[in-house]
Symmetry: C2
C-alpha cells in the first residue's frame, strides 16, 4: 500500500499545482471534519490562499459562490459511504473544482465520486504515516511545499515518518492517567471540553464522537477564547472540564482558560501537549503535530471511560440501526 | 443619530471600495461574534470574495497569513471595551487591513482602535434599522451593492427599514409560546440548541450567552447537519432540544434534524422561521432576515425562562466581579 499511497498523493498534488488555486475547502462530517480541522489551521498560517472548513451538507446547501474551477475541495469519510460527503464531492466536481477525497475504502462511493482518491490504512497494525492523520499531513505539507516551497514544509514531510514512535511513547506515558480518569469520572453525566487553534478539532471530536455518540455523556466543545464570553459562567466546583492545552500559537488562550477554570472547578482534566514526548518532531513543527498526539492520548481516556462505565464505545442506539 | 449612522456606513463602504478586497474577516467574541455570523454566510452566498469568522483572540494568535492591506476586518463589541477585540483591531490595522468596527459606544477603545467606526443604538426605544443587526445588514448589503451591484442587494437595504415592524409583530405573535416554554422548561438543567446556515449564530448565542452565561443551564449549539454525525446519539425522551428551523438554503438540514429528533425526544421546542410574519421583507430575502427575527423571538424565550426560574438574566458570578 505504501507505494500506492505515495502515488495517490503525488497525483493529487500535481492536480493542485495545475490550477491557480483561489480557495481550499475542507468538507466532511463529524469526526472526519474534525480530522481535517488542523489542515485548515495550517493553511491559514502558512499560505496566502484562503481555506475554509464546512460540514458536508452545509457546504452543499450553502453553495459558496466562490466554488468553481479555481478551487480545491478536500473531503474525507472513513467508510467512504457518508451520503452527504459523497454528494458534496459530486456537487463540487460538477462545479469544476479539483476534488480530492480521503477514505479507508478504495472502492467506496466517495472515492468514485471525487476525481482524486487517497486511501489510508486503519487498524492496530497501521503505521501512523499511512493512517488518516499521516496521509492528511503528507497531502497538506506536500501542497504547501509545492505552492510555497520552504525548508519547514519539506521537514514536516520527514517528521510524519516519526509519528508512529511518537504516538507509541505518548500512549504508554499517559496510560495510567487515562485509567485514573476513567475511574474518577465514570459517574459524570456531563463533561465539557476546551481547546483552540489546531487543537479545536480534537476537542470537537472528543465531544461529538466519543462523549456524546459513543458514551452518551452530555458535552460541548468550547473554544478556549470563547469560554470567557459566555460559557465560563457555567463553571462550578462540580462541573467537569477536559482542557486541551496546545503547543501552537493559540496556547495562551488555553492557558488562560485553565488558569481561570481551576479556581472554580474541582474536576479539571488537563491534556497538556507541553508534557508530550515529541522527540522526532522538529521544534518549530511541534504545534502542528501535537494535536495529532492529543487525539491519540484522548482516545485512551475514552477507552477507559468505556471500561469503567461498562458502556463499550461500539454501542449505538440509532446509528446502524435505522435510516435517518 | 440616523444621519450620523448613514455617514459612518458611507465612509466604511467607500474604504472597502478603495481597495481590491481579497478577503473579509469578521472578528468578535461571544454574542458579538454570533451577531456577525449571518454576514459571513451572506458573503459566502453572494460574492466571489472569501469571508471568514474568528473569535478575536484566535484571530490574533492564529495571525492568518493572508491578513494584510488587501483585506477588510469587520469587528464588533457592544461596549467597545472587549480587550481581545480592541487588540484584534489594533493588530489588523498594523497589518494594513481596512478595519471597520461596530459598537454601541462612540468613544470606546474599539472605535478608537479601528479606522472606521460604526455606532448603533441600543435599548427599548431603538428602531431596528439603527440597532446592531440593522446597522450590520446596512453595511453588508451596502458593500455587496457596491462590489456586486444587483437589484436584490439594493432591495435588502430597503427591507432593513421594515425590520422594526417585523420584530414587533413576531414578538407579539410568539409571546404566549415563550411563556409556555418558561413554565414547562424551568426545571431543566440542560437544553440543547440546533441550527444551521445563517441561523447557526442565533443557536450559538442562545447557548453561550443566554443559557450558559445568563441562566447557568448546560448547553451545546449543535449544527443541524452535524447532529447526525455523533451528537444525535444523546437524544432520549427526556433530553430537551430547541430546534431553529431557518428559511434559507440550509432549511432541509433543520427539517431532517427535527424529523429525527421528534421521534425520540418528548421535549422539543421548535422555532420555525416559516411561521414568522415576514411581511415587509421581500420573498427572496426572507432567509437572510429570518435569522434576525429568530434572535428577537428567542430572547423572549430566555426572558420567560428567567421569569419562571427566578434567575434574572442580569445575574453573573464571574463577569463584572473579577479580573480574568
Amino acid at each position: 500500500m505504501e507505494k500506492e499511497h505515495a502515488q495517490q498523493l503525488q497525483e493529487a498534488i500535481k492536480a493542485v499545482e495545475s490550477i491557480n488555486v483561489k480557495k481550499f475547502y475542507f468538507v466532511a462530517c463529524g469526526g472526519s471534519m474534525a480530522l481535517l480541522q488542523p489542515a485548515q489551521y495550517i493553511f491559514d498560517r502558512e499560505i496566502e490562499v484562503s481555506a475554509a472548513i464546512y460540514s458536508s451538507n452545509e457546504f452543499i446547501h450553502r453553495s459558496p459562490k466562490m466554488l468553481g474551477k479555481d478551487t480545491v475541495v478536500i473531503l474525507c469519510s472513513h467508510s467512504g459511504n457518508t451520503p452527504e460527503t459523497v454528494k458534496a464531492a459530486e456537487f463540487a466536481r460538477e462545479k469544476g473544482a479539483v476534488t480530492i477525497a480521503f477514505s479507508n475504502v478504495l472502492d467506496s462511493p466517495l472515492l468514485k465520486a471525487a476525481e482524486y482518491s487517497i486511501t489510508y490504512d486503519y487498524g492496530k497494525d497501521t503505521i501512523a504515516s499511512e493512517g488518516n492523520n499521516g496521509m492528511l499531513y503528507r497531502l497538506v505539507f506536500g501542497i504547501l511545499n509545492s505552492l510555497a516551497p520552504q525548508d519547514k514544509h519539506a521537514r514536516a514531510l520527514k517528521c510524519v515518518n516519526n509519528l508512529q514512535k511518537v504516538y507509541d511513547r505518548n500512549k504508554s506515558n499517559t496510560a495510567a492517567a487515562a485509567c485514573e480518569f476513567g475511574k474518577k469520572y465514570k459517574r459524570e453525566k456531563l463533561i465539557y471540553t476546551l481547546g483552540s487553534g489546531e487543537y479545536f478539532g480534537v476537542a470537537y471530536s472528543f465531544t461529538s464522537c466519543l462523549l456524546m455518540e459513543m458514551l452518551w455523556i452530555n458535552s460541548n466543545a468550547i473554544h478556549s477564547g470563547e469560554y470567557f464570553h459566555g460559557p465560563f459562567e457555567i463553571t462550578d466546583y462540580d462541573v467537569p472540564f477536559i482542557i486541551i492545552k496546545g503547543l501552537g500559537e493559540t496556547r495562551p488562550l488555553d492557558e488562560r482558560a485553565h488558569a481561570f477554570c481551576q479556581k472554580f472547578s474541582e474536576k479539571i482534566v488537563v491534556i497538556d501537549a507541553a508534557t508530550f514526548d515529541m522527540e522526532g518532531i522538529d521544534e518549530d513543527l511541534r504545534g502542528y503535530f501535537g494535536c495529532l498526539v492529543a487525539g491519540v492520548v484522548l482516545r485512551q481516556y475514552a477507552d477507559q471511560l468505556a471500561e469503567h462505565t461498562g458502556h463499550p464505545l461500539s454501542v449505538r442506539r440509532y446509528m446502524w440501526k435505522m435510516d435517518y
